[in-house]
Symmetry: C2
């Protein structure tokens, strides 16, 4: 172990999840305990706080509130989607960060995010090395999309998946209540990776899930889709369909951008991604002349801490804690990843993944986990996903309402 | 007590809720215990099962599954939206029902539903009386909309409200995470009554709810709405808005049917109610030039048993149980209603409400509970609603997924 004395800074980036704050709790509580770490800072809005010198002193937070972070969704310190240029191209941002690190004597940098964030983490680490500033840089993974390379799964996925599966089961019960049939299309997040959409298949295993599942990994064909829906509806008198927001045809045209001639769909409201369910709902209604309801899970699915997976919460905390422990041991330039132990009982171990390797890669669902028709998942996927949604994370309750963490956010000086 | 020996039948009607099955459990378990009740039947799909002789023998159900009904959303026996004509106009349906009641010697009829269902209940009760068939008829209230006349509140409301409040709080945390502002518009169920939309104000009290709330009880004015949103966004840098699906202008034109000239909104996809959020989202985007996200809670809000209110579950069970007890005592032609005890501590007592009085009436939010500007709720509303969302209903879990009741549905013969 090589001792490096100095302050630590933690930042959250990318889209919020139900458990990104659990990783924050892991990093912060572990860093506050470490002798080598002189101060623990939090950066406001990801990298932005480091550029603008908006830095919080985490030692000023109440211990009870830090504990509540475990069950508080979204990014307590704020997030950002700020893309750093390469320092060879433009090093102004890097110089600002270096100045800030020098000002606060920051020697430990923990960055919690997804693909883009690991890219940022990698660039900052290499820049600091290049200019000879000693700092241990660590990535902490986070993304509901589960598309990070080099790890068995990602913190955030299990909780979003648990909410999605639960919601599908509840809606399935609702959908089958009338003696008149209906088609329900539910749109799930995931632009390129279909992990969350696929998670709905866990509900199907209980007889309360989608009959058909369409992932962005496979090219979307409207005719086949309509044929599938018609078959299911004819057989069952109703149909529940899970679709990814990122469905696109072989040419990469997303569903909301498609202009089905026979639909006279104009461009109203379809400038943003999202809306695939309503377009496909219209398509089904026009072609099959059945009652259709389109549901978009939208932001609800990524912040539903009240329905988080206990396994996910615990692992997210662990990822943050292990990042600090490894950094204290002298490691740098890694992301904490997960690997599954062998054997039938689920065991999750952490490992170190070179953060440069993770950056800008994407892990998609293997084709062999999808059925031949491309409209459902095989048992392999369920075996993979089921352990990740185990256990209930009980949120703290006050007056019958969630009691989420309230950080004081005292500015460091 | 006047003893009447015979069978009992129970039916569920109208839109599903998270707790309609809790009332089913109350009726069924209490009826199964009663000496005077010879058989306990369930009707498939509300009144339809009584017309088509699709009747289940509830004594054939497993006790554990009946218990699971307490935490199983939607209508386990199926529902229907079948409107009976008045028997003076057309008595064919009534004769079928009478034949069925004679066939199974049904002397107790329990009907679980909302406004329309109480109307059905009232008509059947009066018809049976007219033809001299002795049968005790009872309404068991149910509606997430909370618009039933004659009762302090309705089973189903508290659970939907709890889900809505929780979701608003989670989305509010998500919405405020970026340093760039956004307007979020969340559409809540309730065509004529704004109780569920108003419930979001409980989240506002915690600082994590909507900044603006628009109810269907007040005429919607687009210009005032835009002015309100602009003010809030200017002051806060973001805005969260709760709207009812039933918003309409002073002429009764619903938002999805409005054709804002300056929007060039066509009629695509707006033929059904629902979609108000996306229309208003477009309106805000075009006028204020800000990022907008529209979310429709859709079916999720009425079947989210995983986030049900314990108070609501218990009271729903109680309503079913008391209906049976009162019927056994000789009462008939009533709906079980709730009344709140006096004093600061919430106490809910049951009472009997003449079912003929309930039918086809609607209870709306009193104007004096809404602020002067018509875009928020006053403390009176919160005091009313908060006790109804207390306590967590823990759903049974199996493999990390909800374990909902699976009834055998054995046909009676």
């Amino acid at each position: 172990m090589s001792e490096l004395k100095g302050a630590a800074i933690f930042a959250q980036s990318g889209g919020p999840t139900s458990v990104i704050n659990a990783s924050a709790a892991g990093v912060i509580t572990e860093a506050l305990k470490a002798d080598a770490i002189t101060h623990v800072y939090g950066s406001a809005h990801g990298i932005r706080g480091m550029l603008d010198d908006v830095i919080y002193d985490m030692s000023k937070e109440d211990g009870r509130e830090l504990e509540l972070l475990l069950t508080t969704p979204s990014s307590a310190l704020g997030s950002a989607r700020y893309k750093l240029k390469h320092y060879d191209e433009d090093d102004r941002d890097y110089k600002k960060i270096l100045d800030l690190f020098r000002k606060y004597d920051i020697r430990y940098f923990f960055f919690n995010g997804g693909n883009d964030s690991m890219d940022t983490c990698s660039k900052i680490g290499r820049y600091l090395q290049k200019v000879g500033y000693e700092c241990r840089v660590f990535g902490v993974p986070k993304t509901i999309d589960n598309d990070l390379w080099g790890t068995d799964h990602c913190p955030g996925f299990g909780s979003a998946a648990k909410y999605i599966v639960t919601s599908f089961m509840e809606v399935a019960l609702d959908a089958k209540v009338y003696d008149t049939g209906m088609v329900i299309i539910i749109e799930v997040m995931g632009r390129n990776a279909g992990w969350l959409t696929a998670a709905s298949s866990l509900a199907s295993q209980k007889g309360l899930g989608p009959d058909l599942i369409y992932l962005p990994e496979l090219p979307f064909e409207a005719d086949r889709f309509l044929g599938d829906v018609e078959s299911v509806f004819s057989a069952n008198g109703n149909a529940i369909i899970a679709i990814s927001e990122g469905l696109h045809d072989a040419d990469g045209v997303y569903v909301p951008e498609m202009n089905y001639q026979n639909l006279a769909v104009d461009s109203f409201g379809h400038t943003q991604l999202g809306g695939a369910a309503s377009i496909l709902g219209k398509l089904v209604k026009d072609h099959l002349n059945v009652k259709v309801r389109s549901i978009e899970l939208s932001l609800l699915q990524r912040c539903a801490a009240h329905c988080a997976s206990r396994v996910d919460v615990d692992e997210s905390f662990l990822a943050g804690k292990m990042a600090v422990q490894h950094a204290l041991e002298g490691k740098s330039g890694y992301m904490v990843g997960f690997e599954r132990g062998p054997g039938p009982v689920y065991v999750c171990n952490t490992k170190l993944v070179d953060v440069n390797e993770v950056a800008n890669k994407e892990k998609l669902i293997p084709r062999e986990w999808v059925n031949e028709a491309g409209n459902g998942l095989k048992q392999e996927f369920c075996d993979y996903a089921l352990p990740l949604i185990q256990g209930e994370s009980r949120i703290a309750v006050e007056d019958g309402l969630p009691r989420f963490a309230r950080l004081r956010k005292v500015r460091a000086s």
